[in-house]
């Protein structure tokens, strides 16, 4: 059974429904599956819960789904680049579950690895800890003397990830800091759809170099001419 789909609409066919939970990989606009997110917009599916470190920027990536009000709730660590997000949230039109970035990445990793919950010192003594189980580990040489809060694993109906290279088996390789949340999200959904810049035949990627094994990836889309955006272009002069 082939994993490669001809276009983004086909790659998402039959797996979208109102009220579903979607994970969207990327950090800022780096390593985002924007072609697939565009297809989510076109599908018109709504009341979405979206798990993503950021919420895109105005008019780009998840920013488009905010404009169309397809998102009901975001689970994120930082949404500071998005004015529409702030407007909708402050008006009470958008639910938001702030999760510290490390806790978010670990909640996703845990969900994918079949771990329902874990304990972390992150957020102890802050609003993040409210309503969460607190535990101490006095007999542990490593963990005694501090408080830890329980955080739960995350799971989505669909994960949308971006990779630099993929083969027809769904094995993925990421490039530089475009890796970020993509590997964990690929493991933590009922159906993971990957868009890849370079599509090759199985066997063409050195097995030792594979970041995400193909077992996690159900569907693949080749996006050879994807537009990559830079949020903050910072440079130095050649003579300095």
């Amino acid at each position: 059974m082939g994993k490669v789909y001809s276009d983004a609409t086909a790659a998402l066919a039959g797996i979208l429904k109102d009220g579903m939970t979607i994970m969207a990989g990327g950090f800022g606009l780096c390593g985002v599956a924007e072609t697939l997110v565009d297809a989510i917009k076109e599908s018109g599916v709504k009341n979405l819960t979206v798990i993503s470190n950021n919420a895109g920027v105005d008019g780009i990536h998840l920013g488009k789904l905010l404009e169309t009000r397809q998102i009901k709730k975001m689970i994120s660590s930082y949404v500071g680049e998005n004015k529409i997000f702030a407007q909708q949230y402050l008006a009470g039109e958008l639910e938001l579950e702030f999760t510290p970035q490390g806790t978010l990445s670990e909640r996703i990793r845990a969900g994918g690895a079949g771990i329902p919950a874990f304990f972390t010192a992150t957020g102890v003594g802050t609003v993040i800890a409210e309503g969460k189980e607190v535990r101490e580990f006095p007999n542990s040489p490593r963990f005694a003397g501090r408080k830890y809060i329980m955080e739960t694993g995350l799971w989505a109906d669909v994960a949308l990830v971006h990779a630099w290279k993929g083969d027809t088996e769904g094995n993925l390789v990421y490039r530089k800091t475009a890796r970020n949340f993509n590997p964990m999200m690929a493991t933590a959904a009922t159906v993971t759809v990957a868009q890849v810049e370079n599509l090759v035949q199985a066997g063409e990627i050195e097995p030792d170099q594979i970041h995400t094994p193909g077992i996690y990836v159900k569907r693949l889309l080749h996006v050879p001419n994807v537009i990559k955006r830079i949020e903050n272009r910072t440079t130095r002069k050649r003579n300095s």
Binding site: S105, E106, V124, K176, T177, N180, I230, R236
Partner: protein, 213 residues
């Protein structure tokens, strides 16, 4: 007289040690990388999944796949490694990073830190700050001493906390304070910025401290 942003960054750089793995926050902390002493090897971690961050690229060599946690284009070095966000925060949470230098809205004399939220006004999020202050071995805050004429160094924070009892040192434009996270010893004023007097610090500081110059 007081320290400029550059001078605050230069002072923070004195907390670096050879061989350190360091995470720098956005703003003044980013400037610290300009003051790493000659001959000292310090690896900069970026929590979006990079160890060994290099300087900004030359014009025309920007790579959209190579950014830091502030979403700025950066470069790689011979020591660079890349990893996932989960691996990045395993490094942070697991206590493998030696030093975190970050900005703040408020710091309390017991080491409480607030730098992520103003209720009803600012909706941005904590990003990786809560993980960093909970996991990194030493936490140094670099911030202006006052905001709109109000002390940012307080008896108690009134903004939502990023972490409770997590700050070891505060460098402001007026001086340097050392904090005992265990709360057993009071906060100490250990250095004055150029041209700043004890009276000026006293007038501009809400927190209680002892002078230990």
């Amino acid at each position: 007289m007081a320290w400029t942003r550059e001078e605050m960054a230069a002072r923070a750089a004195k907390e670096l040690k050879d061989g350190f793995y360091v995470n720098l926050g956005i703003g003044i902390p980013t400037l610290v990388s300009n003051y790493i002493p000659e001959g000292m090897t310090v690896a900069l971690q970026s929590e979006n999944g990079m160890m060994g961050m290099g300087p900004f690229p030359y014009e025309g060599e920007e790579d959209p796949d190579l950014i830091n946690a502030g979403k700025q284009t950066v470069t790689e070095l011979p020591i660079t490694s890349y990893f996932s966000s989960a691996d990045s925060f395993a490094m942070i949470r697991g206590g493998h990073i030696d030093l975190s230098i970050l900005g703040a809205m408020q710091v309390a004399q017991n080491g409480d830190l607030a730098n992520w939220m103003i209720p009803g006004k600012m909706v941005k999020g904590m990003g990786g700050a809560m993980d960093l202050v909970a996991g990194v071995k030493k936490v140094v805050v670099v911030m202006e001493h006052e905001a709109k004429g109000e002390s940012k160094l307080l008896k108690q924070c009134n903004l939502p906390l990023t972490g409770a009892g997590v700050v070891d040192m505060v460098i402001t434009d007026l001086g340097v304070f050392a904090i005992d996270r265990s709360g057993k010893a009071p906060m100490k004023l250990i250095e004055l910025a150029t041209g700043v007097t004890l009276d000026e610090i006293k007038a501009k500081t809400d927190a209680e401290y002892v002078v230990a110059l």
